[in-house]
């Protein structure tokens, strides 16, 4: 069974600084997708970034980038130039590409950006 682990329940960062959120996962699959979702205090979950396991190049979306280490089964999220609006819960998620297509979410990291 797949599992997703986020070992940092809470983190804080100063505005304009860079922060990295950790995520590790366990799977025997070779092809899968990894995601980071953000849940601000308004509760609505929104996609931050997505990575396909067969792509070696790390995904980037503006200030958000990932460090995908397939052999180590690690998928960390780096937020550069942190903004107050980045304050949220961040969830790492895994989805395999065979069998039952369902997301497995990590337990989340609460990020607070300090002014």
């Amino acid at each position: 069974a797949q599992t997703v682990t986020q070992s940092q329940p809470e983190m804080s960062v100063q505005e304009a600084e860079t922060v990295t959120l950790s995520c590790t996962y366990d799977t025997s699959e070779n092809n899968y997708y990894l995601f980071w979702y953000k849940q601000p205090p308004s509760r609505q979950m929104i996609l931050v970034i997505r990575q396909e396991a067969y792509k070696q190049q790390n995904a980037t979306e503006n200030r958000f980038s990932v460090n995908f280490q397939k052999a180590a089964k690690s998928f960390s999220l780096k937020i550069s130039d942190s903004q107050l609006g980045d304050t949220a819960m961040y969830f790492c998620a895994f989805m395999r590409t065979s069998g039952t297509y369902k997301y497995i979410f990590g337990t989340g990291t609460r990020l607070k950006v300090l002014a």
Partner: protein
């Protein structure tokens, strides 16, 4: 225009009651989901429907009954509510079920059982 809308946003009810949460999406997606987020923020899938057909049915008590009258709607009915049902329930949708699909979530429905 809200892409995935859930009603009600808040629901407070007594143990033993029956309640429903409705979900509608206007994205033209063919797959819809119900997720439960507990007090520790753990998010777990409950059900998934693809073109009105039940695809995923996790180990959820049969007091929970989803219903998808069409591709754009997925409702959740809960019978004989228990204290442990208190949570935030999220509806989501996607186009297809393959791995690249991105979930679009609703704003959640917070259910409190007293």
């Amino acid at each position: 225009d809200t892409a995935v809308s859930q009603t009600p946003k808040y629901l407070v009810t007594q143990m033993g009651n029956d309640k429903s949460i409705k979900c509608e999406q206007n994205l033209g997606h063919d797959t819809m989901y119900w997720y439960k987020q507990d007090s520790k923020k753990f998010l777990k899938i409950m059900f998934s429907y693809n073109n009105k057909e039940l695809i995923i049915n996790e180990t959820v008590p049969n007091r929970f009954s989803p219903k998808s009258p069409d591709k754009a709607h997925l409702n959740l009915h809960i019978n004989s509510l228990e204290l442990g049902d208190s949570a935030v329930y999220f509806c989501a949708s996607s186009q297809g079920m393959a791995g690249a699909n991105v979930l679009t979530f609703g704003a959640g429905s917070r259910l409190t059982v007293l």
